[in-house]
């Protein structure tokens, strides 16, 4: 119902007016840019954490490293840490840091938003990638070791073909989380630095509900397009496992 309300009201919005507003264009570009960088960082960090966790699992299984199980648990916990911390608290932390260490507020805003977006998406990214990478390892580790494949070759011939749609899904998820987040930007947003959710919040605050519905519809359309198209861009379905 809420989505239907946005669609019904949003369609009636004056889009030519919305698109002609400089602050909308600025917010749109900032949101897309931040979401793209956040998604790339999330995917890379999730892959590295999942790979490290898998290596510790293998070492634990082979008894090669006494602390391997502990490291594996720490890695799993660290990825989920953000779930326990409200984004507003993290935002306030960054805001205090920006007061203490003088630098451009825009720079602090970018750092804060990227950090929060990545941390927010990471638990979900890990919950998708980590089991998939463990499964690949269980099936192909011995073959990979016996063929003497390097990490890069392992990635090209084994991991990526089996994980590509999962990677696309994780990328899309991180992109959408980032695009819609209003936690950190609520503290850092200004006319100099704004995102679409912050812009939307400003529109609603000034009773421009019709324009707000139009912007919300644009956000909704981007999210739907990203979720539909990004996994396909990554290569469709994962390679078949017999």
């Amino acid at each position: 119902m809420p989505l239907l309300a946005i669609i019904v009201d949003g369609i009636g919005a004056d889009f030519s007016h919305i698109f002609s507003e400089a602050l909308f264009i600025k917010s749109f570009l900032t949101s897309i840019g931040l979401a793209t960088v956040s998604s790339i960082l999330t995917v890379i960090i999730a892959i590295l954490l999942s790979d490290a966790r898998r290596n510790f699992t293998v070492k634990h299984r082979l008894s090669e490293h006494k602390m391997a199980k502990v490291f594996s648990i720490i890695l799993a916990f660290s990825g989920n840490l953000y779930l326990a911390i409200p984004s507003l608290i993290m935002g306030l932390g960054f805001f205090l840091l920006s007061q203490r260490y003088e630098a451009s507020l825009v720079l602090w805003s970018i750092i804060a938003l990227l950090t929060a977006n990545v941390l927010m998406s990471l638990p979900f990214a890990l919950s998708v990638l980590s089991p998939a990478m463990q499964k690949t390892a269980q099936r192909y580790d011995k073959l990979i070791f016996s063929l003497n494949l390097t990490k890069l070759q392992r990635w090209i011939y084994c991991e990526y073909p089996y994980l590509k749609s999962s990677l696309g899904y994780v990328f899309a998820l991180a992109f959408c989380f980032s695009l819609g987040d209003l936690g950190i930007i609520a503290l850092f947003g200004s006319d100099d630095f704004s995102t679409l959710p912050w812009y939307l919040y400003q529109l609603m605050g000034s009773y421009r509900t019709e324009d707000g519905a139009g912007v919300a519809l644009i956000l909704l359309a981007i999210v739907l397009a990203v979720f539909t198209l990004l996994p396909k861009l990554f290569g469709g379905t994962d390679a078949k496992r017999n």
Binding site: K142, S146, K240, R241
Partner: protein
């Protein structure tokens, strides 16, 4: 000659100590019999370097393999499944045995064609591995053994689940490959018929100790 001498392994969560001693001549097939969980595959994992022995040695002629990492050991392994990357073609799966870049070197490609005709799969060179039957997949994996030409061949119940005719063909192929290439072949199985068909000697796991029959 491949010598496994007083090789011992203890799983960290179990009190059982596995002990292995055996020797294999070049061109010989040795079968290891035993129930599931008796420690047969553990021996292959130790020889391959997937597990580290607590004591003992593995030597190929004068070369000590005991502390070598997996990739430095001169061997090829065939598992019960997951011997191939299903999304790659037959040709690429075999080429992975020798070339990690998968650039199609004409010499290697011709070699693959020759080897595929040896295992009767010349028509499937450009087929995806996922489209082959279980028996055909194992034949492709055997073709990679021929491509690699490593002196030790480890078979971890690779023909389990195949129909009788295919199984016999595969066993005969292993025998042929072993003799023609002077391989040291160790085959883990729980099928006594497999041993009777191709093994020169048979060892059995008895109370976690490898004993020659």
């Amino acid at each position: 000659m491949l010598n496994v001498t007083n090789l011992k392994y203890e799983y960290k969560n179990a009190a059982d100590l596995y002990q292995y001693s055996m020797s294999i001549q070049a061109g010989e097939i040795v079968a290891i019999l035993g129930q599931s969980g008796s420690g047969k595959s553990t021996l292959l994992d130790l020889i391959a370097g997937f597990l580290s022995a607590s004591s003992g040695s593995i030597k190929l002629d004068d070369r000590d393999l005991t502390n070598l990492s997996v990739e430095k050991r001169p061997l090829t392994i065939l598992f019960q499944n997951h011997n191939l990357f299903e999304h790659l073609t037959v040709q690429k799966n075999i080429l992975l045995g020798v070339s990690k870049v998968l650039k199609e070197n004409i010499e290697d490609v011709e070699k693959v064609q020759g080897i595929l005709s040896e295992v009767g799969l010349e028509k499937y060179e450009h087929s995806l591995a996922s489209t082959l039957s279980g028996g055909q997949q194992q034949r492709v994996a055997l073709a990679r053994v021929l491509m690699r030409r490593e002196p030790i061949l480890l078979l971890d119940e690779p023909f389990t689940g195949l129909d009788v005719d295919t199984r016999i063909k595969m066993l005969d192929l292993v025998k042929k490959i072993t003799l023609e290439n002077n391989l040291h072949t160790i085959m883990v199985t729980h099928e006594i018929q497999d041993c009777e068909r191709i093994a020169n000697r048979v060892y059995q796991m008895q109370d976690h100790i490898l004993v020659e029959q």
